[in-house]
Amino acid sequence: MKPPPLIEAHGLSKVFGEGQDLVGRMLSRFGLERPPRRVHAVEEVSLTIREGEVVGVVGESGCGKSTLGRMIADILQPTTGEILHRGRPLGARRREKGAGLAVQMIFQDPFSSLNPRKRVGALIGEAPKVHGIVAREDLDDYVESLMERCGIDLAYKGRFAHQFSGGQRQRIGIARALAVKPELLVCDEAVSALDVSIQAQIVNLFMDLREELGLTYLFISHDLGVVEHVCDRVLVMYLGRIVESGPAAEIFRAPNHPYTKALLAGVPRIERRRTAYEPIEGDMPSPLAPPPGCRFHPRCPFATARCREETPALREIAPGRLSACHLNDATA
């Protein structure tokens, strides 16, 4: 039998709603319910991450990509749906010692994710010490090997996070995540805040670590150029749903969903000079009041009556490629 994939998620949804405040509770006592304000940040998302794969999640602000990443990293609990880690539910594994370490997260802003009062050595060494991953007497060597692997000068072991540049801080964040020997790194806009030359250094570091340690990545980013460069497979999200997924090379060469097409057409590239941009119209609708039917239909140049009423299902359009668009039915 084939071993189960590293991560498998079925029908993940996450609803954020405001809890009932005092006024709300009083109103409901008198039978005057106020309609609750709920945001469906992620809806009905299923995905598989195989060992050694780099899976990209792209989409614009409010599409739910960060919420999805946080659920995979077990920081947020899904409202419905389940996540399996090597075939076993994340929830069940949570009680096992050290099981929560298998998935680690790298954040966009390494400064706010590093304790400002701890020295670099302690920042990286704390988790392996607490979880008993290395013996106390080997801790120093272990931390130094991680610093070397991530390209941090060993002389800086006694410094604080604020004494480093953005790129160096991101290296510290990566070393800290690696310290607990994770299998999957969830990178949420991990290179977005960095300067171009520094971004290239960190992207290369991620790829080196993948080869050396056999790491698997969920790479969340709005930067399509970087995603195309590092990812094997890509999920495109719009307003909480996956609209298209498949091998990165194929999606970037021949996008199927109108939203993916618009997204790719809008990416500025160095080879595109004095471009006459022909952008798609309109803003992303508020996730508080998503449009009915296909969520992209108000901005879609090809929308029909059916798109306004019926939500398209994510269906296979070619081996390994899924797209949620009614237009695929017409051509089939």
Partner: protein, 331 residues
């Protein structure tokens, strides 16, 4: 050709120097920058954090505050000197003849005033007309930047608008008086890709139509590739390369420019990105000579002396002792 001699360029910056005097020492954030911008031209001013690109924009518009000060050079707006001009004169020019658009429109827009109030205030600051006429004009300005239902939006407060719409309002305000020059500092960096495309298309069209000179300050080479006519690359307070967009991006003359271009992933190629080692030096500990030398693969003994910005081709210049293109073309 003769016309270029007759009318002064929209903006001419000559050897501009701005320094900050801090407890830690003197920081030369803008160190001898020269730029020329013709009417209707779009210049991309590119650099990474700390390169001095934003401070150059602030210096041009006279927005440098203590402990910073312009210590030398000249900024001529359509022939009129701005460096050393008195506050009243600068006030009369800013917003009317030269305008700025910032990265975060939430910082430019007053959160407690309706869009209508702030737009008509900006209009009436430099023009005399009735409130009703002003309202009609700002309404048209909103429609021009592609805001649907402008009458409704005039009644809105900034927080009721999306980021892209706020940036459109900021652009509409900047263009209200049809200025000679607009300085735009990372105006699309905080926006989503599809919204960025809309703003780029808009700005491009408006500047070409009205003959407004635009300085587009950004860290993103791909964005300037799409809209700019010329590019100037900054590093540690100095311009290290300048020229027409195609020349600079296809045949970079400065090793830093080449490194920057190579750092951007190319579609379809997945090998390791060629990277520039290290990072930009602190302005407090600039290496003597070429500021890029410590990160440069081809640095040699000569790089201990400070290179000048010298011609490397028609309308091109680079600040490097060993430029990567043949200098013959310049002669």
């Amino acid at each position: 050709m003769t016309r270029a001699v007759d009318t002064p360029p929209a903006l001419a910056v000559e050897d501009l120097r701005t320094a900050f005097f801090t407890d830690a020492g003197r920081l030369d954030v803008v160190d001898g920058v020269s730029l020329t911008l013709r009417r209707g031209e779009i210049l991309g001013l590119v650099g990474e954090s700390g390169s001095g690109k934003t401070m150059t924009g602030f210096s041009i518009t006279g927005l440098i505050e203590p402990p910073g000060r312009i210590v030398g050079g000249s900024v001529k707006l359509a022939g009129e000197e701005l460096v050393g001009a008195d506050r009243a004169r600068l006030r009369a020019l800013r917003g009317r003849r030269i305008a700025m658009v910032f990265q975060d429109p939430m910082m430019t827009l007053n959160p407690v005033l309706r869009i209508e109030t702030q737009m008509t205030d900006a209009l009436l600051a430099h023009a005399s007309m009735s409130r009703a006429a002003a309202r009609a004009k700002v309404r048209d300005a909103l429609a021009e930047v592609g805001i649907a239902a402008p009458d409704e939006r005039l009644r809105a407060y900034p927080h009721e608008l999306s980021g892209g719409m706020r940036q459109r309002v900021a652009i509409a305000i900047a263009l209200l008086h049809e200025p000679d020059v607009v300085i735009a500092d990372e105006p699309t960096t905080a926006l989503d890709v599809t919204i960025q495309g809309q703003i780029l298309a808009l700005v491009q069209r408006l500047c070409r139509e009205r003959g407004t000179g635009l300085v587009w300050i950004t860290h993103d080479l791909a964005v300037v590739a799409g809209i700019a006519d010329r590019i100037a690359v900054m590093y540690a307070g100095r311009i290290v390369e300048e020229g027409p967009v195609d020349d600079v991006l296809d045949r970079p003359a400065h090793p830093y420019t080449r490194g920057l271009i190579a750092s951007v992933p190319v579609p379809g190629r997945r090998e390791r990105l060629p990277q520039v080692p290290g990072r930009m030096p602190s302005l407090l500990e600039l290496p003597p000579g070429c500021a890029f030398a410590p990160r440069c693969a081809q640095a040699a003994e000569a790089c201990r002396a400070r290179p000048d910005l010298l011609p490397v081709g028609p309308a091109r210049a680079a600040r490097c002792h060993f430029p990567l293109v043949e200098t013959e073309a310049a002669r």
